[in-house]
Symmetry: D2
Subunit: 277 residues, 4 copies
Amino acid sequence: MTTHVFKVSTKLLYDLSQPGWILLNVAVNKSAAQRVVRERLTSNAAAQFREHSVPEGTTRFHGIAAPAGLLEVVYAAEVQRDVADRLDENPVEKSLIDLPPEVIPYLYPSRYCESDKLVRFAAKEFGHLLPGHERVAGICNWLHANIDYQVGITDAHTSAVDCVTLRAGVCRDFAHLGVTLCRAMGIPARYSSVYAYQLIPPDFHAIFEVWLGSDWYYYDATRLAPQHGFLRVGSGHDAADTSVATMSGSVNFVSMEIAVEKVSAERVHYAVGPVSF
Amino acid sequence: MTTHVFKVSTKLLYDLSQPGWILLNVAVNKSAAQRVVRERLTSNAAAQFREHSVPEGTTRFHGIAAPAGLLEVVYAAEVQRDVADRLDENPVEKSLIDLPPEVIPYLYPSRYCESDKLVRFAAKEFGHLLPGHERVAGICNWLHANIDYQVGITDAHTSAVDCVTLRAGVCRDFAHLGVTLCRAMGIPARYSSVYAYQLIPPDFHAIFEVWLGSDWYYYDATRLAPQHGFLRVGSGHDAADTSVATMSGSVNFVSMEIAVEKVSAERVHYAVGPVSF
Amino acid sequence: MTTHVFKVSTKLLYDLSQPGWILLNVAVNKSAAQRVVRERLTSNAAAQFREHSVPEGTTRFHGIAAPAGLLEVVYAAEVQRDVADRLDENPVEKSLIDLPPEVIPYLYPSRYCESDKLVRFAAKEFGHLLPGHERVAGICNWLHANIDYQVGITDAHTSAVDCVTLRAGVCRDFAHLGVTLCRAMGIPARYSSVYAYQLIPPDFHAIFEVWLGSDWYYYDATRLAPQHGFLRVGSGHDAADTSVATMSGSVNFVSMEIAVEKVSAERVHYAVGPVSF
Amino acid sequence: MTTHVFKVSTKLLYDLSQPGWILLNVAVNKSAAQRVVRERLTSNAAAQFREHSVPEGTTRFHGIAAPAGLLEVVYAAEVQRDVADRLDENPVEKSLIDLPPEVIPYLYPSRYCESDKLVRFAAKEFGHLLPGHERVAGICNWLHANIDYQVGITDAHTSAVDCVTLRAGVCRDFAHLGVTLCRAMGIPARYSSVYAYQLIPPDFHAIFEVWLGSDWYYYDATRLAPQHGFLRVGSGHDAADTSVATMSGSVNFVSMEIAVEKVSAERVHYAVGPVSF
């Protein structure tokens, strides 16, 4: 196992026509393999903060009540991230009855992942592959070969079914399609937003996680950044559950700046393969 | 408060070409106001059962591993259901920052409730109403007046956005639209499947629940059955989370029979209004 | 060239709650290669008939004004159909500026053929094929290999974009997808409804026509009936232009029976290839 | 009757990576009430032009074969436009059987006007209005009251069904919805692109035409420009048939400038009402 240490930061600027509320989703998620050494969330204004996590423990929200005017919020953290040097198993798909209850909701279609509409498509394209990691890797390879990574074709309303015909999209769309094709094959899958070291330009990145064997394994069909540098922010059914901010009507988004910096040595794993958080 | 006692039962028939798995979602949910006095889940075959609940505690799943052949599963329960005689408050909408964390996921769009696509529509139709129960009642009234209850127009892929233009649907579609219009106005809302006393013909019924004040209140824009006779089976983002059964490929659905019987006196509340489970 | 002689008939039954109007589209289209030897259109009631053709001359409509009650309409015709024994050219795609004006509308997307949404998909799947007949044959082969012919999955609202993800459909869907993929590659294409000899069960069949060289060539990716036995009824942008009947509100469809009989010798051509009406 | 004289011009700039083809649709349509006094179509390059009209005579296309490099095309025309001072009839809807054949195709759904999906919606909203001009005026009033004119919400793929839930759009979307709601009520309707005097900023405008009595009447639910200043360029099923340019792959659009100038006195008619070209 190698432990990497990263510093991440997000600077968000909002303009409030009246006092308003923002629910932020930018803090690094805490887990055994992803330890927040230190972090702070500050603002320029007399804003009130309140932290809470959704029951699954996969997402930390920070509610902000802010006065009218310009609001600058800065989140910064130092995070230790363990990455296994080698996962020598080929994790398998579990039968319906052997799934733990917290995994069951990720079998079902969601806003941007209409897996009910792609059952036949997935069976035709991926039904011949070996169940487990090999099938998911086949889905990633198909995505990389058939979907163009291209900014400006898709938007916040684009779903996996839209993207599979458009044949273009960004990381969000790749992750949605990955999730959808797995669910369409009966494999639990969820969407995660992450800080990603060496992603150019710096931004939140989207990947997907698949329940194989007895753990979530993550996959990134865009192949845009090294896997050991992913720091999970939030996981959910799809991008609807992990948006950076939910705002009340008086709040307008102005700008966002993200930085991810490495502060320790590392061994790089670019390959698509079974790696868990 | 009045306590009603109901007996419910579901008989399901499946045909398995090979041994297979079914994840059933037909058991009555347990809560302080809805007490399962006795229940049983049986089958005609040498099937194995396993029960688990999703983390939110709103849905009980029963996993079944069954041999090839015809599988008959019977669920039966006796349930005590408390209904408040009078809810004299007019529950209000809470601001983003005052929502408890377990409610936050129900602000976001889901598979059949694409609230992101109906924000402007909802604001135009319901923006002038008073926040809270009055606004949700306005949504129910609009649904009752503008959507025809009609079997055969919609199917398992129909979403709220489809239905709002089709202007017809069944209880599932009414509930999806109710959920969607609430979320589009910033009000947390979820979908529930229920046993419904006096629903004709007997079937699972779908209603929606809205987070007002500090509780979930349920609404049924179809007005097809009395509210005191709803026994919740499961709640979730939408019908995707609460389907009766999730099956592996070798399992074919044959038939379903449902019965709901009252075994105690009652006072009937037909009106659309704030009533919680 | 071989000339085949066919007898076709359609018996339609409608129920009118009040006097009403029907616009029928069941008569065989007249062209140099498809000659109507004799035909009649009769009804059981005191109905008035009126025939007219759309400006392109590709569709004959029969307007019917009928009294209240049951209306039985029978169309019957004997048709001579010339089929070239061999089309030895490999017809090519023409550039935009060399298309005759009447062909230009068939470059554009239509109700069931949203070619604007499949441009990238078509380029990725068929861009490497030689322009002309080879590319269209490639599209037919792809359809035959990737879309299941299956009744009951699609309905009258299903479009090509729906079908390309569903991966299943009937002749109407195969024809819509063929039209759409051609238009997405810049090739004019239209949809035709035909009587089809040896189609089982007897029904109207749908095929598509492609403008190559200087003529319309027809293709049938379903491969369900021999090409020499197609008798064109109507052509248009898609099924919207060629529906069997357009009815006023008081008219209800009851049943339809179709028969196609061969009254002369023939040589059979099953292969997908360049054959024009 | 008042005759107005207008000068219109369009300057288009394209960049061709290789020699390519463009099919332009910018020339003013010629009719008895809209007379082209003089016009010219010129370019900076050694381009070849070819003019043709679609069979319906409603659209003039100019095919251009151009060399690689920057291509500037200028169209300019002087047009006499007759406007009736008063249309004193209240034109009525005709029954199916009384429609002339060239009007029939405009009963059916098209790419951006999926009238088959809004039949129930239209019946509920407009079924109680008097047939004919009153119903169409009711549709225009509904559009003006319920759809926000807003740039940037919709795009080239947006259809009437999308827009009816989005509740926002531009002239193209207003016209598509007008067409769709008419067709959904059984009234033939088509889409027209026009030069519009006093439209700010200058651009092609989109309106819709409805077959009432025995003529096409035009309607503009945006109310953005006076009706006497509309000069029709092309009519068709929807925007798919009347796009400014259809281009081969090597052609990139750079910019467009439009000007409309009045060169004679006028009487202004702003009201929504029956006025034909």
